[in-house]
């Protein structure tokens, strides 16, 4: 137990603010937003394969978007940026969601095979739909809130595969342009929620480093409101 709680370095009291930066689809938008907010991101943009990029005021720590809430909740990172999809899926993580950054816009949707009535058919006949997804909790909540029963099947890789070869009746996934769905002969059946990048902070850092967090938040708001 002690070890889990101790997930914070003693250095975090002072020193630069540690900001968790998402790698992957949100990285480019995040770096642009940080640049516009006056945070130097040149090192992250370089060829380096390092994970931590120390700065005078702010140290950037790069990681998978889905790890951002974990690091921020524990205080290992003081603040971070990640997608709303990640926050929705990990809604029990206690992080403060402070700002909608507006970029990285995509939709969480329920999709099925084109012209295939299996989704509706499953509901009618069995009262239960099988859904493959990387977001089982979002999917369950969506079906529950619309009064339908669902069996979620969590997959890690290409979700589109599942309905094509009969693992599931449909999928719940994040869609940016819709091209992947199109290429796999799938179509959007229901929109669940729109997701964008969000600025989040650790609860204790939000109190004890209020000035720095508020300052960065104001600059990010300015930078992304254009």
């Amino acid at each position: 137990m002690s070890l889990e709680v101790a997930g914070t370095a003693e250095a975090k009291a002072g020193g630069p603010l540690k900001l968790a930066v998402p790698r992957g689809a949100l990285l480019a938008g995040t770096l642009d937003a940080l640049d516009a907010a006056g945070v130097d991101t040149a090192a992250v943009r370089g060829e380096s394969r390092a994970l931590i990029f120390p700065g005078e005021e702010i140290t950037l720590v790069t990681m998978r978007p889905s790890d951002v809430p974990t690091y921020v909740e524990s205080g290992a990172a003081d603040a971070g940026i990640t997608g709303k999809d990640v926050l929705l899926e990990q809604s029990d993580r206690m992080v403060y969601e402070l700002l909608d950054l507006g970029y990285g816009r995509c939709r969480m949707v329920l999709a099925g095979r084109k012209g295939d009535e299996r989704l509706g058919e499953a509901q009618r006949r069995l009262g239960l739909t099988r859904i493959a997804t990387k977001y089982p909790r979002v999917a369950e909540r969506h079906f529950e809130s619309t009064g339908r029963q669902v069996e979620t099947i969590e997959v890690k890789g290409s979700v589109e595969l599942a309905p094509l070869i009969g693992l599931a009746d449909g999928i719940v996934d994040l869609v940016a342009t819709g091209r992947t769905l199109e290429e796999n002969d799938l179509e959007v059946r229901e929109e669940i929620v729109e997701c964008t990048a969000r600025f989040v902070a650790n609860r204790v850092a939000h109190k004890l480093r209020a000035g720095e967090i508020d300052g960065l938040m104001a600059r990010l708001r300015e930078a992304t409101s254009g």
């Binding site: 137990m1 002690s2 997930g7 914070t8 993580r93 204790v204 004890l208």
Partner: protein
């Protein structure tokens, strides 16, 4: 052979136990020295008795039937059992009652994230002393406890549980949107707060007031900034906070207190002042408390009350981090 124990529980071995014991003794000494007598109550209680205190707080994961078919529950904190104790044993106290405790409590949390399902709490309850004096006394005891634990960098957040409740009433936000907004304020989901306020049909200026208010934290200046937002509910909360904070300042006890208008605690029984404790060495809240002037009434004794509880495992971890920091590497 490996024999498992339930998730969220743990064994404590002698090295850690020795340190924990020293911490326990130091805290109980601080409490006793200030007139808070230690009490113990059963870990299991009748579900219907604890549920009087707070449906949500009593929402422990662990309920079971005894041999007579009565529904029992493992306590999820000590505040409700002590309210029960006071109502039964001291229904008409002539003086304020001061109790302290060191006890295990049980909650249905997802373990492995700095939270255990069985955890030790140390704290005090001051019953029969109204705001602001009672609140000030409790904060002073808390400061002494943090000093005794060696957490001289720890900060106490002081907020007002009624601020947003009254503000939403003033804005005539009721029913589902009211609870949705309070829930988002509690988890500090500012994006969600704004969306819910707009959904409730609140005008831009008021939305801005709520969002700004929830972000105001710092020294006395935040009260002026809140006052500038101009609302009766805010004004009333500020008057309460000003009284408490002014008294703390007069007694030289305000240095480590951070006024925080965005502070909300999830336990439903709080009213008026609420407290949270932070240390820079730890990303989790060390403890909390506040006033719960309506709680005793639910047990049939109408007395004002305040108190706090510290999570001992977290205090211990923070204590180790702080002492490591103090030493030259």
């Amino acid at each position: 052979m490996i024999h498992p124990i339930p998730p969220g529980t743990r064994d404590i071995l002698p090295d850690e136990m020795r340190e924990l014991r020293r911490l326990h003794v130091a805290l109980i000494e601080v409490f006793e020295a200030r007139g808070y007598g230690e009490v113990a109550t059963p870990a299991i209680e009748y579900d219907e008795v604890l549920a009087r205190g707070d449906g949500r707080a009593a929402g422990s994961a662990y309920r079971f039937f005894d041999e007579r078919g009565d529904l029992l529950v493992l306590r999820s904190d000590m505040t409700v059992p002590i309210a029960r104790l006071v109502a039964s044993r001291f229904p008409e106290p002539e003086q304020p009652l001061r109790f302290c405790y060191l006890a295990n409590a049980y909650r249905a949390v997802r373990p492995q994230r700095g939270q255990m399902r069985e955890f030790a709490q140390a704290g005090v309850e001051l019953i029969g002393a109204p705001a602001p004096q009672g609140t000030v006394e409790v904060i002073e005891v808390l400061e002494a406890a943090l000093d005794a634990a060696g957490l001289d960098r720890a900060v106490i957040g002081l907020g007002d549980a009624d601020l947003f409740r009254q503000l939403l009433t003033e804005l005539a936000v009721e029913g589902e949107s009211r609870s949705a907004i309070l829930e988002r304020l509690e988890t500090h989901d500012l994006v969600g707060v704004e969306a819910e306020l707009r959904r409730a049909g609140i005008g831009d200026a008021q939305v801005e007031t709520c969002v700004t208010l929830s972000q105001l934290r710092g020294g006395r200046e935040v009260l002026e900034r809140a006052r500038a937002l101009g609302s009766e509910a805010v004004e009333r909360a500020i008057a309460r906070l000003e009284q408490t904070f002014g008294e703390l300042q007069a007694r030289g006890a305000a240095d480590r207190v951070q006024l925080d208008l965005g502070l909300l605690r999830h336990l439903g029984y709080y009213s008026g002042a609420i407290l949270e404790v932070y240390d820079p060495a730890l990303g989790h809240v060390l403890g909390g408390g506040g006033r719960y002037d309506g709680l005793l009434k639910r047990f049939g004794v109408d007395l004002p009350a305040a108190g706090f509880a510290l999570y001992m495992e977290r205090v211990h971890v923070a204590q180790m981090e702080e002492s490591r920091r103090g030493k030259p590497a």
